[in-house]
Amino acid sequence: NAGVTQTPKFRILKIGQSMTLQCTQDMNHNYMYWYRQDPGMGLKLIYYSVGAGITDKGEVPNGYNVSRSTTEDFPLRLELAAPSQTSVYFCASSPLGEKLFFGSGTQLSVL
């Protein structure tokens, strides 16, 4: 039982590059989330989805895009990476939007 799987675990990007952070879950959860964790700032919600085909902005969506074509997958796309996007990114899923199951995180550096 893998739970929530994020790839890659680490990535270094140059300013202006693009990349996709992958997230997949095998628990058939409807709700999925992307958070970023910055020191002293806690977790900030980037985007979330309450089901396949439905996505919504969170607190800090600028510079990111998401899609939810299947229940299992919720990729996060950075189109033009900026140093302000250096952070640890966490994907999470939930059956009902309450108890969240988190992935192990992706540490991203933009230089």
Binding site: Y31, Y33, Y35, G40, M41, G42, L43, K44, L45, Y48, V50, D56, G58, E59, F90, A92, G97, E98, K99, L100, F102, G103, S104, G105
Partner: protein
């Protein structure tokens, strides 16, 4: 606006001492509150939720609507309690987190 405030970035105690991690919230409605914990090199995970009224690993948290607080307490801290603790509030379909408190328990 819905908000969760954790005023302490760091809380350091000795083993066996009582612990209280503070959490205050602002929410228009009936909130559902949670404590999540992140141990070193582990995933963020749910510790407890107020509607369960349970004690997990010796921790308890009581929702005080008058003071809009949901402080996490443990009477006798253990070294293995050292971790990052996040208070969170459900807002419709999403969870809003506080900035977190790092708990250090010294031997």
């Amino acid at each position: 606006a819905q908000r969760v405030t954790q005023p302490e970035k760091l809380l350091s105690v000795f083993k066996g001492a009582p612990v209280e991690l503070k959490c205050n919230y602002s929410y228009s409605g009936s909130p559902e509150l949670f404590w999540y914990v992140q141990y070193s090199r582990q995933r963020l995970q749910l510790l407890l939720r107020h509607i369960s009224r349970e004690s997990i690993k010796g921790f308890t948290a009581d929702l005080n609507k008058g003071e809009t607080s949901f402080h996490l307490k443990k009477p006798f801290a253990q070294e293995e309690d050292s971790a990052m603790y996040y208070c969170a509030l459900t807002n419709t379909d999403k969870l809003i987190f506080g900035t977190g408190t790092r708990l250090q328990v010294f031997p």
